[in-house]
Subunit: 885 residues, 2 copies
Amino acid sequence: MSTKWVYAFREGSGKMRDLLGGKGAGAAEMTRAGLPVPPGFTITTEACNAYYASGERFPDGMWEQAMAALRELERETGKKLGDPNNPLLVSVRSGARISMPGMMDTVLNLGLNEDTLKGLIARTNNPRFGYDAYRRFIQMFGKIVLDIDATKFEHILDARKQKVGAQLDTDLSAEDLKIVAEEFKELVRKETGQEFPSDPYEQLRLAIQAVFRSWNSPRAITYREFNKIPHNLGTAVNVQTMVFGNMGSDSGTGVAFTRDPNTGENVLYGEYLPNAQGEDVVAGIRTPHPIAAMAQEWPSVYQEFKRYAELLERHYRDMQDLEFTVENGKLYMLQTRSGKRSAIAAVKIAVDMVNEGLITREEAVQRVEPGQVEQLLHRQIDPRAQVHVIARGLNASPGAASGKVVFDADRAVEWSKNGEKVILVRPETSPDDVHGMIVAQGILTARGGATSHAAVVARSIGKPCVAGTETVKIDLDRRQFASNGVVINEGDVISINGSTGEVMEGAVPMIEPELTPELQALLGYADAIRRLQVWANADYPRDAEIARRNGAQGIGLCRTEHMFFETERLPIMQEMILARDDATRQAALDRLLVFQKNDFVGIFRVMDGLPVVIRLLDPPLHEFLPDYEELLVQVTEAHARGETSPEIERKEALLKEVAAMREANPMLGLRGCRLGLLFPQINAMQVRAILQAAIEVSREGISVHPEIMIPLVGHVNELKMVREQLEKVAEEVMAEAQTRIPYKFGTMIEVPRAALTADEVARYAEFFSFGTNDLTQMTFGISRDDAEGKFLLQYVERKILPTNPFQVLDQTGVGKLMKLAVEAGRATRPDIELGICGEHGGEPSSVAFCHRLGLNYVSASPFRVPVARLAAAQAVLAEPVETGF
Amino acid sequence: MSTKWVYAFREGSGKMRDLLGGKGAGAAEMTRAGLPVPPGFTITTEACNAYYASGERFPDGMWEQAMAALRELERETGKKLGDPNNPLLVSVRSGARISMPGMMDTVLNLGLNEDTLKGLIARTNNPRFGYDAYRRFIQMFGKIVLDIDATKFEHILDARKQKVGAQLDTDLSAEDLKIVAEEFKELVRKETGQEFPSDPYEQLRLAIQAVFRSWNSPRAITYREFNKIPHNLGTAVNVQTMVFGNMGSDSGTGVAFTRDPNTGENVLYGEYLPNAQGEDVVAGIRTPHPIAAMAQEWPSVYQEFKRYAELLERHYRDMQDLEFTVENGKLYMLQTRSGKRSAIAAVKIAVDMVNEGLITREEAVQRVEPGQVEQLLHRQIDPRAQVHVIARGLNASPGAASGKVVFDADRAVEWSKNGEKVILVRPETSPDDVHGMIVAQGILTARGGATSHAAVVARSIGKPCVAGTETVKIDLDRRQFASNGVVINEGDVISINGSTGEVMEGAVPMIEPELTPELQALLGYADAIRRLQVWANADYPRDAEIARRNGAQGIGLCRTEHMFFETERLPIMQEMILARDDATRQAALDRLLVFQKNDFVGIFRVMDGLPVVIRLLDPPLHEFLPDYEELLVQVTEAHARGETSPEIERKEALLKEVAAMREANPMLGLRGCRLGLLFPQINAMQVRAILQAAIEVSREGISVHPEIMIPLVGHVNELKMVREQLEKVAEEVMAEAQTRIPYKFGTMIEVPRAALTADEVARYAEFFSFGTNDLTQMTFGISRDDAEGKFLLQYVERKILPTNPFQVLDQTGVGKLMKLAVEAGRATRPDIELGICGEHGGEPSSVAFCHRLGLNYVSASPFRVPVARLAAAQAVLAEPVETGF
């Protein structure tokens, strides 16, 4: 029995990928599913290998089997290859198991020659179409099969267009195209020394050989070597009948989705164009009809199409994107694939399909990208809107906003009191701007990166922010800014997109965020699947509320420093820092205690029953003092002008204080627990405030679980000493109140040394929280503030780094440290609570990594909690299935 | 046969430590060695355990055996316990196997009572001595044996001193002391309700019990628990005859070394005092005689003593520090121990003893501290000098210097041209001061830490430097500085000690450094033992010469940036940085190339035959530009005064440039290979200079081995891309010259991530050099510049950190990263060359760690190369002995 080298589409199936290649198996599967696919056949990958094994000859029987399959096509279609009256035209394309660059692309319209062309023109009554098809065939065949430099064909076409004054290919007439085809054939003659093959069988033979040869093209070999793909897989060859939608008024072509890709509604969605082919739809010369109109125009075709759409959706168990052609009243399905869809649609379709019994909850969870969930939680610019982008900066805090430009925080407050929506535009922001940021719709800065003040505050208050927009040149005196030639005055309306970093002129239409019932259902499925808890980073009760609403199971990071930047508190903080004696310092601390306690009371009330991790003061104290350079300039100016006054003297004194506290590298300076060891009173006040607040709310019947986090530990002794001191304070407060509150002490793992010595650190830590922002900075030796504006983006563009490690956790380097710390921490203290509170806690691939590491929770910004819930569930579903025996 | 509970000293030996405790075994060993030790006996540790086992009773036979041993003492000494005419007095002390706090100290003069006191006075003819001995006995016995609060005795003594107007105890007369003794006995009566025990046997029984009881004192138990010492070891009790040197003119006491502890010369060195006891020598009331005088005064005693000294030195195989007493013409050796010695003496004694056949070369190498070798290599302040310290700063660069104070570099040059020796005193230094630093004897700065410009440059040019001397307030206008109330004007002489950080008024006597023949011999022994190579960090040919003279086997770090700070080059460097177009930049680089090439030519010539690792440009470019703040002040002043000029305009423009290049954390910013990726021309110029220089000297017949080091790699792709680019340049230069030079590419491992991913990095690195300065900064998250002045010293003082990790390598944290990197690097590339070039490369414990890690070499500053040679040999000798079978 001779080998079977050729399979008709109806003989194969989706499972025969190795033998038939991806395309052949796909066509076979569609045919199996009952789809009217234009008939065709596949020459197997084994034939390709046999071709090479026998010195580049078709194996015995292959051509004969192909001819038999061709006869079958002719029978099915009623057309014949080379028939001048009713010619069969076919496409020929390669199809390996894995698609790869360097392999042969498609040759369409094979079978055309001077004779069959006449038949085609006669049947379509469209000479332009006929000649265009013919010149395209010669061009494709010439390039792909005959190896002629493609630019030579382009030159001929361009020369013709220039000659007749045509702008586009479509401006060329039938006559022009006829001339082009002749010139193409002349080119082939010159390049190959032979006539362009007019025999369709010769065309087919050459095309099949070309596919086989393309398997060993240098590009394909290089690609396989680089990607470690074996060289002996071989490629299949697909030969498929061409169909045409421009055969008359009972022909047409269209595209459709089985559900609405914008809303997810379960209705056919798409458009078609009678007497046209795909190209016409794309060219936009005629307006297509909505798919529903087909029900009137071609009722039976519509019903048939609708049936196929439903069948395909059920077969592939997903919303499909369909291409079809109607040729003389006969419907052909050309392609089906999973349809792209909007975020809203993705969620709705997944949940609907669960309700329809089409897919499981697990599948639904896998059908939605976590990034799509994030989109749904911020106001977005309507994707259909026309926008005029005038600048691009860093996407520093997600969401979109429109409003009138203001250049200072006071004016932002003033205008917004009058009901205006404003965008605060600043060179960069400082604590003095926070009151303006709170009332603004969004923030735009010219300088600063993703950890700049503007970015950090914007994210924490949930406002969109575009930062480090270098083309924006602000002129504060004239109260205007210019960017890329556009001048925007104060009061002009702009829009910003904090998710993309775009700045636009004028107002743009927005889509409001919504936690739809479908999204809630989907997240419900995710919750039932995931093992990793999702907590949130929240500094204020309002953040905690959003976090809880979004499903957070705890607060993983409550930073206490932002509290001290608030307008009424900053002067007290400064008093405390500049105090010359303990009494003055303690008095200031006592006043701050009242504020701190109330902050915590608010958060504890919201988080009733859930843990709240509070990080003690972390930043260097000079961040709370006036800017050194501003003082220097003011004092220098006063001196140069010979001015003197008590105010200037005060500034001189302050300048000296601030100068003494300056640091060369503040990121690595006197901050975190180092502060606590040098100035224990501040930490003591904070712990007192935490426990007093906890006691107060617990008396209201609220269940409170404070966890006190000591930052920037690098050596176990730091933690030991700070903890011992603060435990005393905690016990004192509880003794005063004659009550007990369950609380924990733990530390942030953000210094590489802490991770490396986690076995020691765990002796004094009931929990570890990976502070991957700083951990990434120190592990890479990269200051994020400095790098993002200067070299980091270039690093990512030039692929020096695969991704920005501040957005996507670096699993190879930073992740290795985390793994060491998890193992060592658990070895010392098996029940240690492990979490992550860096920005990575809301990034899907990082969440998956944390799941694999076996952390107890990730803590994300409140708005990214749903993202993390979904990502954590997907991480479970991505686990290799365990096989028991 | 009953258990033997008691051993006379002559019955035991040094090996019976478990049974006799440390002191008992020591006394036995000395006795065995033929030493006339005052006779005594030891009650065993087993007796102590038996005492507890039987409910705190002496075990059967113990007391009887002790009495028998006592009789033996009486026979040997001719004295009797309790004999009013010739009383035997003894000391009683504890002696566990391991000495520990909380255990009983010594009770001296046991056996004294009203009767025996009289005998003592009669025999010494010294009532004051007698009463003093008596009151001391009561005081010690009362405190230690009877558990009476020691301060109560002190109060009585103080009251008496106050009453008679005495300043010191020695001002009290015999009569006073008699009264004190009475009052002490009264105190004992009151506190215990009983008379002070006058029966010497009762005294002895109680003292022995007290020793046993002290084994289970709370302090001793806590100590054993903390140090994991078993509780069942028990303590021994030592009872030893008292001898007195103040029994008349045929008695005396003295101390001596078997060799001169200052020079190491092989002569007896010491002093003695006739008719005196130890206390008298210490009190300095009478001037002792040199030991040589004893040869005349007591020839036979002297000969005997000399014989014992030689015997002891041979027995212990080390220079001994001896204490002796002559009682009525009989010599007693009270103590022998290894003598402390100066650095010079340590080296000379060790080498002499090798030559005398007393010790092996290995032992000689172990006898000298590496720190002592370092001392010998710098000019030192004569330890005998009287100095007036006016300030203390950071010991930033070792060695000592005296000179006239100058406050600017130009004056330093001017004065030194006139033959003056000067000390350059600056608030802090900058590249503008380097010409002054080079001519100065030493540098003193008010600000800056161990990595400040002053410190780094001073170390690299081998000048003493004291930095960050906070009490020094410099007034540049008045040309003076004040510190701790002392005002020093320009031209006044001061001295600085860069090894200790001290600043002294006036000139002080110095000891010049010397690579003595003995030191060379010792280092020769070390070289034969060590496996770790010792290379040096050297930026200039003059450093390389010192390095080679000191035995360096290569240059492990040649930094190229200091070269660009030199006066004539800095403007060209600035031109290059500020160039607006490639042509201008290239022109500047071409001029720098000439300088660079000559730098390398000089170094290669010196290092003929040895490898030279050259690090490409590392610091951020803004370090080469004028200081931002100075420019800001100048421009602000000009504006405030309404001044304008081309010079001011130039400064304004420069200010903008400098402002744009500023960084929040320059340590973690745009530097190292990041610069090379953004501005490849600089690296290309450097590699061109290296290879051109190598080709030039190789044509002179010199063997040259350049190794090109790419700094601050964190991700393998950084190294890969920089290396690919530079390899092209290297090949180009060699093709131009039609010759080949063997060279290597490698990287510094100074970013934690590089260590964590060393398996990947090693794919492109032929060598790793651990840059432990930066690696420590990043692993700890500590900026050294900021920390050393602010919290790091406090961290070490408060024992939060065991040592300053920038001086002593942190083996637990940083060392763990190094270990990971060594293993991963060798796994990828088994023949990878591994070294360390941080400051730790010259620190002995860090050198030992590098040896254990299996590095190929350490690279130290040229002056510390001998230190590292010795430390590397000691590391070999500290290895556990392998036992084969």
